[in-house]
């Protein structure tokens, strides 16, 4: 950020609270690794030292949705799995974002059949669609940067009155 040069002069700087909060949010996007099939392998590769998702502050993959900001849906979502994905998404605290990683999550991909949901946007609000089968880790990082840009444009007041979602308490067997 080049803040050090500012601090050398006066010891303080002025900014907007919105900008500061957005900067803090976008620099520490904690992903929920919703690794359902083969895209998950590329998602894991994005975490290794070669691609190093830590450069963007997103190395903390949390396996509990309560601590996550970003859901990376990596893999084919079947109709049977869809309620589970939605339930995990509902448990994430606001504000939250979703990456539809790979052709299957974006459109059903090669699985044009009765059992696969033809695009997760039928039951989830998606912020970023990611092409590829599977996408390379670079591509996932690109999506992450796009999400960061999106978070950088948000204002804190937007989320003030965000209502918690109504959880569906009955479970389908």
């Amino acid at each position: 950020m080049g803040l050090e040069s500012l601090l050398k002069q006066d010891g303080y700087f002025t900014t907007k609270v919105d900008a500061l909060i957005a900067w803090a949010r976008k620099s520490s996007v904690w992903p929920m690794p919703m690794g359902i099939s083969c895209c998950a392998i590329e998602m894991m590769a994005a975490g290794d030292p070669k691609y190093d998702i830590a450069r963007f502050g997103s190395e903390v993959m949390r396996f509990t949705p309560r601590q996550c900001d970003l859901m990376i849906v990596a893999g084919t979502v079947t109709y049977k799995m869809a309620p589970v994905v939605r339930k995990i998404y509902d448990q994430m605290p606001d504000p939250k974002w979703v990456i539809a990683m790979g052709a299957c999550t974006a459109s059903g991909g090669i699985y044009r059949t009765y059992s696969v949901v033809q695009g997760i946007d039928q039951f989830l609000p998606v912020d970023c669609y990611l092409a590829g089968c599977p996408p390379r880790p670079d591509n996932l990082l690109n999506a992450l940067i796009m999400i960061q840009d999106k978070i950088g444009r948000t204002k804190a007041a937007e989320f003030k009155n965000a209502k918690p979602p109504e959880l569906e308490l009955t479970q389908r067997n």
Binding site: K80, R112, Y114, S115, F123, E168, R172
Partner: protein, 162 residues
């Protein structure tokens, strides 16, 4: 004596009144029989000391769509003792869409028969746990039947609300 002839001959000796159709294609022996004797034939093949077909590799079905006996159940079995594979077939008609379960002979048939039940809607008598394998419990159709559309029936599986 050739093992194939041996298997067929033993079956014919042991089940005199039963009609066995045998085909030998690409060195693979297939034996077809009426569905009523399936458990007897299978337990004979498994427990006969010469044959010992102790491993049931797969149970699956074929949907012939417009044929009179619409379905054929296929059992792929293997004998470790003789290193020999055998295919068994039995026809099932849609009007009486059930067959006896062979789980009492091979435990591995349990999930395979559940899969056939899920995908083709053929029910198995005396099966210990006949539930759907892949599709949701309340799903009404059987996807591998020829009259099921590839993209499914819209609205048959509910999605969560957006």
């Amino acid at each position: 004596m050739d093992l194939k002839e041996h298997v067929v001959q033993k079956l014919k000796e042991h089940f005199p009144g039963t009609n066995f159709e045998t085909t030998d294609y690409r060195d693979e022996l297939t034996i077809k029989f009426p569905k009523e004797v399936v458990v007897d034939v299978c337990s004979f093949l498994k427990f006969d000391p010469d044959l010992e077909f102790s491993f049931c590799e797969d149970v699956t079905a074929i949907d012939w769509a417009k044929r009179k006996d619409r379905f054929t159940i296929v059992y792929q079995i293997y004998s470790f003792k003789n290193n020999f594979r055998l295919r068994l077939k039995a026809d099932v008609d849609e009007s009486d869409c059930k067959i006896d379960s062979v789980t009492s002979v091979w435990k591995t048939a349990n999930w395979q028969e559940r899969e056939v039940y899920d995908m083709y809607g053929i029910s198995f008598n005396n099966h210990p746990d006949l539930r759907r394998m892949y599709m949701p419990e309340d799903f009404e159709y059987h996807p591998l039947r020829k009259d099921f559309p590839l993209m499914g029936i819209p609205g048959s599986i509910p999605l969560p609300k957006k």
